[in-house]
Amino acid sequence: MSFEIFIAITFPFFISYFLILMLYYCLLIFIGFIEGGKRSHQHHAEDYASLSFSTFTIPVSIIVPAHNEEVWIRDSLLSILNLDYPKFEVIVVDDESTDGTLKKIDDMLDLDSANNPFVDQFKSGKISNILKSNIHPNVTVLSRPLQYKEKRDVTVISKHSGYKKAGALNTALNMVKYKYVCIIDGDTILEPDALKKVMIHIQKNPENIIGIGSYFGLVNGFTLQDGMVVERHFFKNLITAYQNLEYIRSFIGNRIAWSRYNCLPIISGGFAIWRRDVIMDMGGFSTSFSSEDLEFTFRAQEYVAKNKEKRYRIMMLPYYVGWTQGPSSVRTLIQQRNRWQRIENEGMWRYRHMLLNPKYGAFAFLSLPYFLLYEVLGVFFELFSIILVLTGALLGFLDVKMLLAFLTLMILSYSLISISSLFSFIRNQKMFRTRDLFFFICLSFLESFWYRWVLAIAKISGTYSFLRRVRSHDQYLRTR
């Protein structure tokens, strides 16, 4: 078979693949646009003040797993303590930190050993100490494993237990008091009204809503003061600027639409609220995966299907609730996306029985096929197309004009998707200055020239790591 015939056969396949993806994104953006508009109206008309005064406001347990978060933990905890919500507790898990995380927490909260008996229901690993804050009685710190001597000389035992963030979450679950559990990262800075914006929806329907998430962006380059965002700078770092655009596309473009049909495949671990009894019923978070958030959401969708009569819902809201640190260099970006690709592959493999299975409803038909074809197998298509182009070029069969035409089609299509998502976002959020918008629009056009290729490299390396059974939860170095 000549190369030309080969191209003639594979070409329609590739173009169909691309067109279906674009149409799917357009559909999601359109649904997200309508749903986002509705949420915006709800937000404007809502009576949030009532939450502050009611004894029936549902209290929340906030879990903060912190591994080597000395750079951000103070601001993160301050933002939590600044929350405008009447009743919540905080459980910080100092998760095998080898830096000054625990000392920072102690300096801030004045910790004392509490020595409460601890029953580990999840085999989440040893904890060496339970500490309570003398200043904020609703804050508990679990230390694992760290020697905490009487005179507060901190001895760090460097030990890799392999339990990862999931293990830290499970540790905290053993101590949680309230019906709803809010999980954030140790570098997440919450907006003061984060819990109000989200819990007001849960309060309408706590019997049915088992999981809820909301939009959060990247804090890199922001000016913070005592845990509060004072100034937002979206363009101090180009890598994080691209990521902000990506988050908008993902949260506002995709997830809002999936939420509309109760087929949300992920609530990110940077901010997620789950019903505690459902987490316990599901056996807690799994430590066997590279990341716990996607796998848990997949498992939760399975749980929803198994309990159809209870009409459970897993939702995503378009309100910004906080900010988290993102990678600020190409190396750390690849490291992060390597792990994300691994978890996508792991989740898809583990829950492959749900794919196109009518028992699992919209999740099986709307979300999982996308995940399989574009998040998991997409890397193979990209790799194959690169190989095809290079082979064509080497053999002298490459039609440069045709190649340029399709590359331009790809660039413009992706740009339109990004710009549409951006419009959907700004319609409901008044966060950007006009010049920020202008820069984001420019980034939309430039993304495909290099940023997407960096992500493609990360996806390829992630897939390779997955095939090599790498399951580590690598954390890139925190910076400010």
Binding site: P117, Q203, T434, I441
Partner: protein, 417 residues
């Protein structure tokens, strides 16, 4: 040749996409700029309106129809809603009163009622509904009641919020009846009703007679916030309700009332088949009798439910010294779970340190009791942080205590040493 035509077609599509992208980009920039300008203008208008209303409030003159029309008629429904919902309107009765008066004089309420009854534009209708609620327009109650039963969940929800602003017996009745529709969680409805005046208590008590157990449950929960002493009889009856949730809520209510007359029904609930009813009964007994509840609840340490045991433990911790004899008995003869509960109670109340100090006491009785309790603790085989507490004692005292421990369990003493 074929590829050439495809390439040409793709270039045409690219041109179209590029034009579309550029138009959309320009549109976004223009949209954002225009919206910001309009928002600023709207904000300025709102501030001016508030300023005029403030001046009216200060002047204490009754505003004329023309004055009010001049202020109100240039505002949209959304702007009116923004003002009635503002912190200023919420915080100042005078401001709100003048605002409401002006809206009435300008004939706005008729228009708002018309929109609230069924305007084509949903969110304008919701804004009108909420405005009527915030302005406490009693004549709008029938409209709000109809809107509450709307098939549109947003209209229904915001009508509920609007009714919650009116705070009279009629709106309370409507909301209490709405509990039975189960369109929204009882949490939300009772959180709205909680802020109503006590005059609605009778309505709530009536709801405790509903055939719907969920409605009865929430009615009792709501009454717990009002604590009406003269309706305790009714709630005592509900401790025998067919619904376990209602029985549990009734125990909670009686505990909050702290009326000793309610002791018998609470005691009966200690034997309830549902663990959460027993748990509530334990807490209610402590609330009612405080230290004197020990004889009633200590047996609950052997309850099959860990939650009931936990609630007993929470009570025991409040006054650990009173419960020591019972704890010792439990450590010697109780089930494994009961023993664990007793150990937890001693640890959580930080009594272990005091126990060890008592071992060094010069009073023989005190020393003997402490020794017996420590022996029972060691025999229970549960971890209670002995070494950690012992490490806080000075050298000689630590030695003396270790000698006592040695006489009870030489293996343990060696491990600690």
């Amino acid at each position: 040749m074929g590829f050439s035509r495809i390439t040409d077609f793709v270039w045409i599509v690219n041109k179209a996409l590029l034009i579309l992208a550029l138009i959309l980009s320009a549109f976004i920039i223009i949209y954002d700029s225009v919206r910001k300008a309009l928002d600023n203008r709207s904000q300025n208008r709102l501030e001016n309106t508030k300023k005029l209303l403030r001046n009216l409030a200060r002047s204490s003159k009754t505003p004329s129809k023309d004055t009010c029309s001049g202020i109100i008629n240039r505002l949209t429904i959304k702007q009116i809603f923004d003002i009635v919902k503002s912190d200023e309107a919420a915080g100042s009765k005078e401001f709100k009163s003048h605002l409401t008066s002006c809206l009435e004089k300008a004939g706005k309420f008729d228009r708002l009622e018309k929109i609230a009854s069924g305007s084509g534009r949903k969110w304008t209708r919701i804004q009108a509904i909420m405005t009527l609620g915030y302005c406490e327009i009693h004549s709008a109650l029938p409209i709000l009641k109809d809107a509450l039963l709307s098939k549109d969940s947003d209209i229904s929800y915001f009508s509920m919020l609007a009714l919650g602003q009116i705070k009279n017996n009629m709106s309370a009745r409507i909301l209490l009846d709405f509990l039975e529709k189960k369109m929204y969680s009882g949490y939300k409805i009772v959180s709205i009703l909680e802020s109503f005046p006590r005059t609605i208590v009778k309505e709530v008590v009536n709801k405790t007679g509903s055939s719907d157990p969920v409605a009865r449950f929430w009615a009792v929960k709501l009454l717990t916030t009002f604590k009406p002493q003269d309706h305790a009889d009714r709630i005592e009856e509900l401790t025998r309700d067919e619904s376990a949730d209602v029985r549990a809520a009734s125990c909670e209510f009686l505990g909050e009332l702290k009326n000793k007359r309610s002791l018998p029904p609470i005691l009966q609930c200690l034997n309830d088949s549902a663990w959460f009813v027993r748990m509530r009964a334990v807490r209610a007994l402590f609330s009612l009798l405080e230290k004197d509840c020990v004889s009633y609840i200590i047996g609950m340490l052997n309850d099959p439910s860990k939650f009931v045991k936990e609630s007993v433990k929470e009570v025991v911790i409040q006054d650990i010294e009173s419960y020591l004899p019972h704890i010792e008995t439990c450590l010697l003869t109780g089930s494994e779970e009961a023993k664990k509960c007793c150990v937890d109670a001693l640890v959580d109340s930080e009594y272990i340190s005091q126990l060890l100090k008592s071992l060094l006491s010069e009073h023989p009785d005190k020393k003997e009791r402490a020794t017996a309790l420590l022996a029972a603790l060691i025999r229970s085989d549960f971890y209670f942080g002995l070494k950690k507490v012992l490490d806080t004692f000075p050298g000689n005292d630590r030695k003396s205590i270790l000698e006592i421990i040695k006489s009870m369990d030489s293996g343990l003493e060696k491990r600690i040493r």
